[in-house]
């Protein structure tokens, strides 16, 4: 019962974006993927969800290969995701954004739904109830009938996670869920995500907010230049000198950066701020 990457590879022409990544993601845990910009974090998410094709290797969920499947088939196998740039159905209400997730399971009954009103109202009521419950969990019930695109940014982030949860996914992929959120909202998000941990669910969070990652995740993968650099618990990651090197460079590097910055300021005629 795991999500597994095996020798995963992604190539754009000559550029290797993901290079031979193998990892297992156990259910019941929250896995973080971190790394500098361009390390391939989002690419991993996009390949898992079927948004990008895979150049080599395999992705499997409980032994079932996902690589050859179409994006909607991957979604129907239990993989749900959110996007780095929020992608809601803007002109639909918040409630409808969730209700539409019943499509794969219920579309076969459309004819009956159209021709037999009692059946339709029973279905509508059941969908509505289930979706309102999820909205309440995210404190979004007040926005149920508002157009998704009109919600405040932070609420939109929450709504997108809510949408990803409607089908009770076995794999939940969150691509930078805290991006653009303020401190208060991030705290709220961390609490909600922690509550979503479930024994059957694999949760993967790609995130730049280190507080969130270190608080929330049980396991962290550090990506660097498309390679898997380090794999361990938050404490191990924080202690690893390799990770520090990848993120910050060596002490000499930092001195170089400072010197370069000073030169540049001098060139532009910007004086260093003096403390008064």
């Amino acid at each position: 019962m795991t999500l597994a990457f095996q020798n995963l590879r992604k190539q754009y022409g000559d550029v290797v974006a993901i290079d031979d990544v193998s990892a297992n993601f156990a259910p019941g845990m929250i896995h973080g993927i971190i790394g500098p910009n361009g390390a391939g974090k989002s690419t991993l998410i996009n390949m898992t969800a079927g948004s990008y094709t895979v150049s080599g290797g395999s992705i499997s969920l409980d032994g079932k290969r996902l690589v050859r499947l179409k994006k909607y088939e991957i979604a129907n196998s239990g993989v749900s995701r959110t996007y780095q740039n929020i992608r809601l159905f803007d002109q639909m209400t918040a409630l409808e954004n969730l209700e539409v997730c019943f499509y794969p399971r219920e579309v076969a009954g459309t004819l009956k739904e159209v021709l037999w009103p009692p059946y339709a109202s029973a279905r509508h009521a059941r969908r509505r109830e289930k979706c309102l419950e999820i909205l309440r969990f995210f404190d979004l019930q007040g926005y149920a009938d508002a157009e998704a695109g009109s919600l405040p940014y932070g609420r939109q982030r929450m709504l997108e996670i809510a949408r990803a949860l409607v089908c009770n996914p076995r794999v939940l992929l969150l691509d930078e869920p805290a991006a653009g959120l303020n401190h208060h909202e991030t705290t709220e998000l961390t609490a909600k995500l922690a509550a979503l941990r479930s024994p059957e669910r694999v949760m993967i969070v790609v995130e730049h907010d280190m507080d969130l990652v270190m608080t929330l995740c049980d396991n962290i993968i550090v990506m660097h230049h498309g390679k898997l650099l380090f794999h361990g618990t938050p404490a191990e990651v924080q202690a690893s000198s390799d990770v520090q090197l990848a993120y910050l460079g060596t002490a000499n590097d930092i001195d170089d950066i400072r010197a370069a910055a000073q030169d540049r300021r001098a060139q532009l005629g910007i004086r260093a701020r003096r403390r008064s």
Binding site: A49, S51, Y72, A75, Q91, V100, Y103, T110, E113, A120
Partner: protein, 331 residues
Amino acid sequence: MSVTGTLYQARPRSSRVLSFLLLGLAVALIAATPFLPNYHVRVINSLLIYILLGIGLNIVIGYAGLLDLGFVAFYAVGAYSYALLASPQLGLHLPFLLILAVAAMLGALTGILLGIPVLRLRGDYLAIVTLGFGEIIRIIVNNLDWLTGGPKGIARLDKASFAGIEMARPIEIFWLLLVTVVVVGTVVWRLERSILGKGWAAIREDQDAARGIGINTTNAKLAAFATSATIGSIAGVIFAASQRFVSPESFTLQESILIVLVIVIGGIGNILGIVVGAAILILLPEVLRQFAEWRILFLGLLMIFLIIVRPGGIVPRSFGPDKLIRGLFGK
């Protein structure tokens, strides 16, 4: 659009008054039609046909967000189905209802045939390809002399009859059309509210995210094309039965564009909007008949005006049939 939406929500009484006014107007118009001269009844019939066409095309454009400029092809499929199966042309005289069923299936089939090659296209590209498709059908009909009579068309079509009642006079066609519009309108409205309708809306908003929640966009789009084409074809059958003559001239690109305008001016994605759009685009030219040379200019100005004042169409998406019903029955 959202601004007017909240206005209606904030003032349920005005929405209630509006609902009763609209219903009263519709009932009065329907009740008065039998007493109008034939010419006026014909105009109302043509209005109903455009409402029917608008409802059909709106599934693809308004619900699924796919700009189809070749809708008239399905209208032609229906019209020529009737013309070939109920005229001396092939010596066939099948009953009206049977032809209606055959044409509906043929329409769905052509809809899917058009749908398959354009699945990957959106926006402008889709518009151009569907436009080409509409023209292809018209040109085929125009040149297939042995079957369709070419530019001369097919004349002396049978009178439509149903359960022993002949439907040939304008007022009889009016009742036939009215029943069809009400039935088709109800089915389509319920379809819009069904899970398939929500899936179409999701595809319209963000196709890729729609796939991400497990929607098989290929099937959903083909369903939209097929349903829409079926309605176009049904409208074609009734049109042919009412004219008792068909020729390629009725199925030009201009016709497709007129149907798109009905939707755009009335209010995209809203059946009530289509009724309003059709009323304006069909009735206005009749009202302006004295100023024949100026008609197109008037229409053009009206469109520019509307697009500036109400870019989402006259009727907001939020004021749909549900609002109307809620206004009528309280709650």
